[in-house]
Symmetry: C2
Subunit: 439 residues, 2 copies
Amino acid sequence: MNIVLLSGGSGKRLWPLSNDVRSKQFIKIFKTPHGSYESMVQRIYRQIKTADKDANITIATSRAQVSAIHNQLGDDIGISVEPCRKDTFPAIVLASAYLTDVRGVNPEESVVVCPVDPYVEDAYFEALKSLGRLAEKGDANLVLMGIEPTYPSEKYGYIIPESNDTVSSVSTFKEKPHMETAKEYIAQGALWNGGVFAYKLSYLLDKAHSLLDFTDYEDLYNKYDTLPRISFDYAVAEKESRLQVMRFRGEWKDLGTWNTLTEAMEENVIGSGILNDQCSGVHIINEMDVPILAMGLSDVVISASPEGILVSDKEQSSYIKPYVDGLEQQIMFAEKSWGSFRVMDVENESMTIKVTLNAGHKMNYHSHRNRDEVWVVIQGKGRTIVDGMKQNVKSGDVITMSAGCRHTIIAETELKLIEVQLGTDISVHDKQKFELEYD
Amino acid sequence: MNIVLLSGGSGKRLWPLSNDVRSKQFIKIFKTPHGSYESMVQRIYRQIKTADKDANITIATSRAQVSAIHNQLGDDIGISVEPCRKDTFPAIVLASAYLTDVRGVNPEESVVVCPVDPYVEDAYFEALKSLGRLAEKGDANLVLMGIEPTYPSEKYGYIIPESNDTVSSVSTFKEKPHMETAKEYIAQGALWNGGVFAYKLSYLLDKAHSLLDFTDYEDLYNKYDTLPRISFDYAVAEKESRLQVMRFRGEWKDLGTWNTLTEAMEENVIGSGILNDQCSGVHIINEMDVPILAMGLSDVVISASPEGILVSDKEQSSYIKPYVDGLEQQIMFAEKSWGSFRVMDVENESMTIKVTLNAGHKMNYHSHRNRDEVWVVIQGKGRTIVDGMKQNVKSGDVITMSAGCRHTIIAETELKLIEVQLGTDISVHDKQKFELEYD
């Protein structure tokens, strides 16, 4: 099975755990069969590999997520990187061209496209396989998944099928309705459009060439910023006559708010937290290294990260966005392809950061115009390159770098360091990258 | 007026803002007339000085609080330091001997003793002055303040006066009663015993010499650990026949729990915090540098410090103690006489701390057996002494110190530094202090 996971943009609805650089799909909140925690993207990746160990998984995403994806899924995962954000049609065409031109997939094979973030069980992945087989069979150009509604949601578009059969032609599509209209749709047998569908690569690429002027993946990638912002539904699905919908009645949850997300949590507390016996329906998700004590609360979610602390009635939590948009914040932690960092202290003319490099990984070779830096290695060993000079380093070593000096550190084991940045104009944008002449 | 403020021990009822090293009286939670925030001890000190600018204030406390008192009240405050914790009688005798023998107060002057932590208004301090005058007048050896009860409290002892006059003889004392008994006492005209009283120094010292074997302050200080644990009420008040009680009807609050403390807050939010419009009766006290967002909560207190985060229904907050006692915590921040520190990161073989030295202050000259240290100065200027060698330092300078090396830093301006401790057995107890030969 070829599968393209659409990994959507950043959002603040799960603040303080999601932010401008970390989307909700990277929050480690789900208990694995082995007792540790995994994120949405790790969970769905694991579930796909369980359903089909040979699945060819590609993640279609923006540049901003590449580091986090490599950090969470390793270096072997296929990523189709959008040079800038367009809508779903350009993203899906780019991923399809990536599959044929970069990964060498036969254009007669089918591809299943689905969002990275639904909370689903095994039956869903069996349905994805069926979807792919239907597309390959070729009775339709496009096979959609129609999810049987569990309530008259205003959040989804609806698909009205021609019949109640498991696989049916499509009568029509409906935009996100108001609740009363949603009830009418459901009475007519309508299904949720969860953005899951399958097609043959050759079909989609022919369609793409008829709508966009490009030769191959590389050409498309280079002119990506000139492409129209247009959704897949509008460009393709709603105009296609050879269309099928396959009915799915298994569990399918969209965990977009704290209220729905906590429903999917197996335990009430993740991280350091205590609930007294007068708490009911309380969830704690604590990414800080200090304990949270909750007493006498009902139906409240408490979430803490180095960016902030949310304490919200669960129902109220869906109204979070305007409050969080009002917060002026710098990014206080991030996962990178080489490890992670956390901001520990910010002063007018200094910033102190804890950096963790995974074994075998390194920073870019870079310099800063407006700040000096000091590294104190606190764990592990590796080597630094400073203005071309190599040096082995270990816990306890101190490296000082003046503004302009080129530097990197390569971790032999897992390596942790305290970085003190010193200057009058400290900014994440003050970074010049260089090629290493040797390593 | 001579006044002795009894500054009681540490407690965890206001966790995470109070802890083993910071008592509730040092939490800066009250808005000053100038718009900044002050602690209980700063508030009462300011109020006394407003009522009587010449007041001679002595704080009777333990060694553990001396740094915090100097940090909050400056270096000129009189402190009678108990070498170890006994009960109120030895503490009051020590403070009285301190006043005559160290501060040179005339033994015929009176002293007013009161706890450091009641939340009171100006009328209270006028009452303290009256109490002192009554003691000096000498119609009684001991003059107690009797607070008119506002409800049948189970938390206080009661004083039954002979009459309803403003000043009366005392009929008897009653231990903390159950509520029904408290109601009966109040029906008899009983007053709360708030631990506020006045006496002539000569009276108390004569009494002390009759009960304890000591010559003067220094002698008493040196044998303090051999003294009996005995309360002032038991040793003196309940046995004294020449006793008066002075009635006080002004505001007098004991802010011992989050519930009562938040009642005394002028604003709902101290520190960085947002309440949405669906919150009512919510208080945020945030000592962290990340924002707290509260949504849809009622009658909840949220308090955050580098030691932890409390989210509690206000009524429930009085039951906090067993939960906090169960937390194993190291001290994450503290106010010292020279400034303050905050723990930023703890690893197995390293600890990273931010240190702030007030201008003109210095650390002790000290060394560590089992850890190396690195200082990175991030703000201000001063000088270091490392194994006797002086060096001027400023922002950006790095100082490395091996285990065993003696070191201190003296702040010329306010000076901030990042201290990285490195070793396999890092402990606050690994500290040897030395005299500086020169400075």
